[in-house]
Each structure stands twice: as structure tokens, then as C-alpha cells.
Subunit: 228 residues, 2 copies
């Protein structure tokens, strides 16, 4: 029997671990995609996919024919990770170079969702995560499209965030070495939108896009769109 | 026995798969971090870590005490994925919204590297991937630092890239709907460097940083730094 407490809590760098759901949810809601891991014949598999958090569960997008989603009909042990790179960390010592990041890792049993209302909410939120408000500015799914969307649900019961933040580690004896040290922040930004339909003006939610605005896809929560 | 051909080749969207090493290597060399998956007691685990490709193998960074690295002394079945988000894809239909991305998934048996020359090359390249040329502008590792670096080697024998590129899918009957469709390109960019040592000027490789320049960390390959 696995000791589940050891799955979500890292044994290395415990000071980087965060178990509070507010921190965890903010990372899950900002990350635009995740990696889903599962086991086939004792061997690990990984796929990138898009996710939406709704309350206390993570919902993962798939197509009805994909292997993990077929396997998940009876409950599939999975591990899901999201990682956001926040900065490159330059130490005076080669050895202490690092990256600032925010990641979340969730373990549990994923199950296929068949409830159509939940599928509707998932697809709306997924599209509103791409850009807030987009759901109301495109054609809604047909019943056939809902039917061909398979959805995995993973309860967020065994989940933790791991965050590296702040300055580089330095050895005291390196203090006076003549090398620059510091942090180079990294950001995800949008370029110029590419319009396929030049007759239709580019919507404001496309022009003003930012990763934090993508958020949890609730157009009614009054997000400012600004990134702190 | 697992049919290994089914591990690296996706059963869904085969038109998105690319097996040529030039395509695969470019994605591995641009991605700043990866996700490493392995199995413990039949259950999947995932950790984000940094990688360097050297020739036909992927090298993954760890600390001597970390679980997968201890397990890998005798060879650990792993799956490694990198994913770069290239753009948000807006379709006239909610259902066809998507993301443009480039990902690589590699399967195989990872082993711990003990060769010190290879560890030296790994650490140099890792730091030069953070910023080209940095290795020659910081303190080299000590023997103790090399000793506390554990390195996993994964031969790139079973590896494939999956790429989504180009415009959204549209249904013919949606053609005249009054919704904007197109692509919003995404880029990783650097913000203003944060200096801890204001007496030392910010190096040019920090000021001119770009993800493509981070590349494979070889300062001698004459990369332009421009992203195509």
C-alpha cells in the first residue's frame, strides 16, 4: 500500500512546498496547459492537455478515442502537473544557477465525466480561460460536439504546490567574485493577433489578453486583467 | 510485453506527429524545462526539472537524494515531455478552440551518470542554456558540487514530436457566422533584469536574452538569437 502522504509532499526542499488551496488554485488557474501522467503495463506515459479547475476538482480535456480516457472509465490512477516558469536565476556560482517557478502536482484517481451539464460548464470555462468572455462570442457546441468531448475528473484531494522564488543561492566565499548575479524575470505575452476574418474587428478580449486574465474562466468574477 | 511502437506514436491526430530528429531536437533545445514521469508502486509520479540534450541523449538534472534518481541506479523506466505553447487558436465554434504548441515525448530507461567529464559538460551546457556564454562568466563547480549533482541519462531512441500549427478548424456551416477567428501568438519574453550586484554591469547575454538563444547552450554554434 502506498503511503499517500509521500506522493504530494516532496522529500527534497520542503521549504518550497505549499499546501494551501489559494496558492494551488491560482497556479492551476493561470497555467494554460498541464501534463497528465498514467501507467500502461507498468510503464509511465505522459500527455500534454488543457485543464480547467472547477471548485475542488481538476477537469482534463480529451477525445473519446484517446487511450487514457478509455482506460479511465473504471478509474485511472493519474498524476497531473502544471509548471509556470517565472525567471532565470543567475548565481555567481555555476552550480547554483536555477529557475524561479510555480508548479502544482496532483495525484489521484481520474474518472470519466458523463454528465452533460458538467461538460457544458467545462467547455465554456475552457474557452473563457483561453480568453475571458469568448464563450459568449462564438457558436455554442452542438449535442454531437458535447458527445465527442470526453472529460476526466480528478478530485483535488492530494495536491501540493512547489514554488521557487527569490534570489540565487550564494556561497559566502563567492561574495566578492566579479560576476553579475540576479534574476531575469520571464513572462508569457501575446503577439499581434492573426485575423482569418479581416471583416470582423479583433475583439477586445484578444487585444488585451494576458495570462492572469485567462484565469479560471469566470467572466463574472470581475478580474482586472492586470498581472500582479 | 509492451509494443514500444505505440508508446512514442500517438494514436490520435497522427498528422501532428513528427519523427525527424531535427524537429525533435529544436523543441528539446528551446524548452527551458521538462516534466519527468516514472512509476512507484504501480502509480504515476511527475516532477518538473531542467534538461539538456547532448547528441543522442537527454540529460536530466536532480539532487542525489531525490527519489527517481535513487531508483535510477539500476535503470528506471521514464517518460519525459516538453511542451512549448505557441498560440491560442480561436475558432468560430466554441468546440474547435485550441492551442498551437510544439511538444516532444521521449520514453526509455533512464540511468544515473557517474562520469565526471559528462557531469561537467552537463552543468556547463545547462548554464549556457539559461543564457549563452554564462558558463565562462561565473565560478566553475568544485569537486564537491559535481559530486552532489546527480544526472539521469535517457537515450533518445524512442521519441517523437507532436505539433499543432496553423489556423483553427472550422465547420463549413459556420463560415458566415459573425465571430472573429484567428490566432493569438504566445511568446516567452524576459522582463527587466533584477541585479543583486549593482556594481557589476548587466551582461549582454542577460540583456539580449531570448528563448531561441537559450538553445542548446553551445556558444560556438553561431545562433542568431532571432526566433523564426
Amino acid at each position: 500500500m502506498t503511503d499517500t502522504t509521500t506522493r504530494a509532499v516532496a522529500t527534497r526542499m520542503p521549504e518550497r512546498m505549499h499546501a494551501d488551496r489559494e496558492t494551488i488554485d491560482a497556479i492551476l488557474d493561470e497555467a494554460l496547459f498541464c501534463h497528465l501522467s498514467y501507467v500502461v503495463d507498468g510503464e509511465p506515459r505522459l500527455i500534454p492537455t488543457m485543464h480547467v479547475r472547477i471548485g475542488d476538482a481538476l477537469y482534463l480535456h480529451g477525445s473519446t478515442g484517446s487511450r487514457p480516457l478509455r482506460m479511465a472509465r473504471e478509474g485511472l490512477p493519474v498524476c497531473v502537473a502544471v509548471t509556470i516558469a517565472d525567471g532565470l536565476v543567475f548565481s555567481k556560482a555555476q552550480f547554483h544557477h536555477s529557475m524561479n517557478y510555480r508548479s502544482v502536482i496532483a495525484h489521484g484517481i481520474a474518472r470519466v465525466v458523463t454528465d452533460e451539464t458538467l461538460k457544458q460548464e467545462f467547455l465554456s470555462r475552457l474557452v473563457d480561460r483561453i480568453a475571458t468572455g469568448r464563450t459568449n462570442d462564438c457558436r455554442p457546441p452542438t449535442r454531437k460536439e458535447y458527445a465527442s468531448t470526453t472529460l476526466l475528473e480528478l478530485p483535488l484531494t492530494e495536491v501540493a504546490a512547489k514554488i521557487r522564488n527569490g534570489p540565487p543561492s550564494e556561497e559566502p566565499e563567492d561574495e566578492n567574485l566579479p560576476y553579475w548575479n540576479g534574476i531575469l524575470p520571464l513572462h508569457t505575452v501575446a503577439g499581434e493577433p492573426i485575423s482569418l476574418e479581416p471583416k470582423v474587428p479583433i475583439p477586445s478580449y484578444v487585444k488585451s489578453w494576458s495570462p492572469a486574465q485567462a484565469g479560471d474562466g469566470r467572466p463574472d468574477v470581475g478580474r482586472s486583467g492586470a498581472r500582479s
